[in-house]
C-alpha cells in the first residue's frame, strides 16, 4: 500500500515538476529580479545595482501615476462588465438553447479569432472605427456624425473586447452548462417567473464560472498595452503605456519596475477578492 502511494507520488511529480520548474524559471525568477531592480539606480543611462527607495518614493508621489492607476482600473472594470453583459445572452443561448453540434461549431468559431495576432485585429479596428471608415459611412448616410471613435476611451474598450469577448463567451458557456437542469425545471414547475429564475437559480449556480470569466477579462485588459495605445491614442495613458514611457525616457527601468509591481499588487488583490467572492458559500459543491 505504502509502495503504491510512493509510486503514485513519483508518477505524479514527473508531471507536476516541469510546471514547478517552469514557474520558478519564467515567473518567480523574473519577478524577484524585477522587485530587486526597483531599488536600482540609473546613472548615465546605465542601470547600477543599489538599494535605494528613491524610485518608489518618486513614482508613488507623482499625481500622474495615481491618475493612470485609477483610469486603468476603471477601464479594465468597464471592459470586464461590458464583456460579461455582452457575452451572457450568447452564452445562455449556447448553453441552454443550442444543440450539441451547434455548440461545438460555435465554440470552434469563438476560438478562431485567436489564430490571428491580436495586434492585427486591433489594426483592423483602426480602419473600421476611423472617421472615414465604414461605421461612420453608415452614420453619415443617416444624416449624422461623423462620430469620433478612435483615440477615445470607447476605442480602448473596443480593443479590450476584441481581446477578451470570445474567451468570456466560452467560459460563461461552460459555467452555464454546468448548471443543474433539474433545478431549472423544478423552478419552472413551481411557477418561477423568468427573471427570478435567472437571479435566484441560474446566476447563483453559475456564479463561480461567471466571476472567473469576468476576472480573466479584467486581468487581460488591465495589462493590455495595444488597445489603449493604438485605439485609445494614449488619451489618457494607462499604466502599461506609463511603463513604456518610463523606459523610453532615460531608460528608467527601475521606475518602470515600480509601476509593474504596483500593477501586480493591484491585480493580486482584486483576483484574491474575486476568487473569494466566487467560491463563497459554495464550498460544498465540487
Amino acid at each position: 500500500m505504502s509502495d503504491g502511494a510512493k509510486g503514485s507520488t513519483v508518477y505524479a511529480m514527473t508531471f507536476r515538476l516541469p510546471l514547478l520548474v517552469w514557474s520558478a524559471l519564467f515567473f518567480l525568477g523574473p519577478l524577484l529580479f524585477m522587485a530587486a531592480m526597483s531599488f536600482f539606480l540609473v546613472k548615465n543611462y546605465r542601470m547600477t545595482e543599489a538599494f535605494e527607495t528613491v524610485n518608489w518614493a518618486r513614482m508613488l508621489s507623482r499625481g500622474y501615476f495615481w491618475d493612470s492607476w485609477r483610469y486603468t482600473l476603471g477601464m479594465a472594470a468597464a471592459g470586464a462588465a461590458a464583456a460579461s453583459l455582452i457575452a451572457f445572452p450568447a452564452a445562455w443561448t449556447l448553453a441552454f438553447r443550442a444543440g450539441a453540434t451547434q455548440r461545438r461549431w460555435a465554440i470552434s468559431l469563438l476560438i478562431i479569432p485567436f489564430f490571428t495576432s491580436y495586434l492585427v485585429r486591433v489594426f483592423a479596428w483602426f480602419v473600421i472605427l476611423a472617421e472615414a471608415g465604414p461605421i461612420n459611412a453608415v452614420i453619415g448616410g443617416l444624416g449624422a456624425g461623423p462620430v469620433t471613435m478612435l483615440n477615445t476611451p470607447f476605442g480602448t474598450l473596443v480593443g479590450y473586447l476584441t481581446l477578451t469577448l470570445p474567451l468570456v463567451v466560452i467560459l460563461q458557456t461552460l459555467a452555464l452548462s454546468g448548471v443543474d437542469r433539474d433545478q431549472i425545471a423544478a423552478a419552472r414547475n413551481l411557477g418561477c417567473p423568468p427573471g427570478r429564475l435567472l437571479t435566484a437559480v441560474v446566476l447563483p449556480a453559475a456564479k463561480t464560472g461567471l466571476v472567473i470569466a469576468a476576472l480573466i477579462c479584467f486581468i487581460l485588459s488591465f495589462g493590455d498595452f495595444v488597445s489603449p495605445y493604438y485605439l485609445g491614442g494614449s488619451t489618457p495613458p494607462t499604466l502599461p503605456i506609463l511603463i513604456i514611457d518610463t523606459t523610453k525616457s532615460g531608460q528608467q527601468w527601475p521606475r518602470a519596475a515600480v509601476v509593474a509591481l504596483m500593477m501586480m499588487a493591484t491585480l493580486i488583490t482584486i483576483a484574491f477578492a474575486a476568487v473569494t467572492y466566487a467560491y463563497a458559500k459554495r464550498g460544498t459543491r465540487a
Partner: protein, 392 residues
C-alpha cells in the same frame, strides 16, 4: 498489485510501439532537416564566398534601408545591419548597454553628439576627409557640439525644420502662421502630438515668446511653458509614435500635429494628402542629423568611406529623397544635383537658391532655432512634465 502489473504491461507495450515508430520518424526528420538546410543556405552561399562585410548601424528609422544604402552596399560589397531608435535618450541607452565596438556607424541628432563624445562613445574624424568648403551655410561647418576644440567628432549630413503641420482643409495658410492655431476651435480634439517632449515643448517655448532663448528657461519661464502646454490639453486628440503620426494625419483623425514638420508631412504630401508644414512667425526648430564613427569599430575606414558617400552629391540627393522621411541637402553640390534630377522635390521643399522659403534663407532671417536639450532643467524634468501633461 494486480493493478500495478497492468500499468507496467501497458507502459512497456506503449514503449514497444514507440520504438517501432521512432527510427522512421528520426530518419524522416534527418532527411527533412538536411533538405531544408540546403534549400535555405543556397542563396547565401554566393554572398559568403564574396566575403561581404557587415556594418552595424545605429540610426533613426529608414537610414539603413536599400533606398539609402543599397547602391553603396553593392559598390563596396558591404551589408548594413541597422538597429533603429526613436529619440536621443533611446540612442544613448542602446549604446550604453552594448559593449564598445558594437556599432560601427551612429546617426545621431546633433544635440546629442556632445553627450556621445563626453561619454567616449565616438572616434574623432579627420576634417580633411569631408567637403567643409562646400557647405550651404557657415553654421553647418562649425555646428555646435560637433567639434571639441579643433577636433571634429561628427559630420552633419542633413537637416529639416519643424513648425506647424496641419490639414489644409481645416486650417488656412494664414492661420497656420502662428502656433496659436493649435488652440483653434476648428481643430478641437484633433491636435495630435508626436510623442516626444523635446520638439513640442520647444515650440510652446517659442509661442511664449522666448525666441532664441527657447531652451534656456529660468523657473518663471519654465513654469509659463508648462502652463501654456497644459492649456492645450483639451485640444489634444492623441499622442503618437512615428507610424501613428503618419496614419492619423493621413486618414484625417488629426487635423494638426505639434512637434513635427515636413519630415512627416512631406512624405504624405507626395502621396496626395492635403497636409502641409510651415514655419510660423514665432519661429521654427531645426532637427539636424550627423554621422559618427563608433568607438572601437574595426571598420572605421569603411564607415569613413560611407560618410564621404553620404556627403557626395549622390548621397545628399538620396537623403533628400529618402523614403522614410526627407532631409534637406547641406552641400552646394548636393543641392545643385537635386535641382537637376528632382526639380519637383527641390521646389516643394524650397531648396532652390532665391526662393523665399529656402531653408537657408529662413536660418539667415533668424527664424530657425537649432534643437537643443534644456539648459536649466534636466531632460528628466522635461520628460516628467510630459508624463504629467499626457495624464492631465
Amino acid at each position: 498489485m494486480r493493478k500495478n502489473d497492468r500499468k507496467v504491461k501497458s507502459m512497456s507495450d506503449r514503449k514497444k510501439t514507440l520504438g517501432l515508430i521512432a527510427p522512421s520518424r528520426r530518419e524522416l526528420l534527418r532527411y527533412g532537416a538536411a533538405g531544408v538546410t540546403a534549400g535555405l543556405a543556397a542563396p547565401y552561399v554566393n554572398r559568403a564566398w564574396a566575403q561581404t562585410t557587415e556594418i552595424n548601424m545605429l540610426a533613426w528609422y529608414g537610414h539603413g534601408e536599400s533606398d539609402i544604402v543599397g547602391a553603396f552596399e553593392e559598390a563596396n560589397n558591404v551589408k548594413f545591419v541597422p538597429k533603429y531608435y526613436a529619440g536621443g535618450d533611446n540612442m544613448l541607452a542602446l549604446i550604453a548597454q552594448s559593449p564598445p565596438g558594437t556599432y560601427d556607424v551612429i546617426l545621431s541628432d546633433a544635440e546629442f553628439v556632445q553627450q556621445l563624445n563626453l561619454a567616449g562613445y565616438i572616434e574623432p574624424l579627420d576634417e580633411a576627409d569631408y567637403p567643409f568648403d562646400d557647405m550651404l551655410h557657415e553654421d553647418f561647418a562649425k555646428f555646435p557640439g560637433h567639434w571639441d576644440g579643433d577636433t571634429l567628432f561628427s559630420m552633419m549630413v542633413r537637416f529639416g525644420h519643424l513648425g506647424v503641420s496641419y490639414n489644409t482643409t481645416a486650417l488656412s495658410a494664414e492661420e497656420a502662421q502662428s502656433y496659436a492655431c493649435f488652440w483653434n476651435d476648428a481643430v478641437k480634439g484633433k491636435v495630435g502630438h508626436f510623442d516626444w517632449h523635446l520638439p513640442t515643448l520647444g515650440m510652446i517655448s517659442l509661442y511664449n515668446g522666448n525666441g532664441a532663448g527657447l531652451w534656456d528657461l529660468d523657473d518663471a519661464r519654465w513654469d509659463a511653458v508648462q502652463e501654456t502646454t497644459l492649456s492645450l490639453r483639451p485640444q489634444v486628440g492623441g499622442y503618437f509614435d512615428y507610424g501613428g503620426t503618419f496614419n492619423s494625419l493621413k486618414n484625417g483623425e488629426m487635423l494638426a500635429m505639434c512637434g513635427i514638420g515636413d519630415w512627416i508631412t512631406g512624405v504624405l504630401e507626395k502621396d496626395g494628402a492635403p497636409v502641409a508644414s510651415v514655419i510660423p512667425t514665432e519661429g521654427g526648430i531645426q532637427w539636424t542629423e550627423s554621422y559618427c564613427i563608433g568607438k572601437g569599430s574595426a571598420k572605421a575606414d569603411l564607415v569613413k568611406t560611407f560618410i564621404q558617400y553620404m556627403m557626395s552629391p549622390e548621397g545628399q540627393v538620396k537623403s533628400a529623397q529618402m523614403a522614410a522621411y526627407p532631409g534637406h541637402c547641406i552641400t552646394k553640390a548636393g543641392r545643385a544635383m537635386l535641382n537637376d534630377v528632382d526639380p519637383g522635390e527641390s521646389a516643394r521643399t524650397g531648396q532652390i537658391d532665391g526662393l523665399p522659403n529656402d531653408p537657408i534663407v529662413l536660418i539667415d532671417e533668424g527664424r530657425i532655432h537649432y534643437r537643443d536639450i534644456p539648459v536649466q532643467q534636466s531632460l528628466e524634468d522635461w520628460n516628467d512634465f510630459w508624463s504629467e501633461y499626457k495624464n492631465a
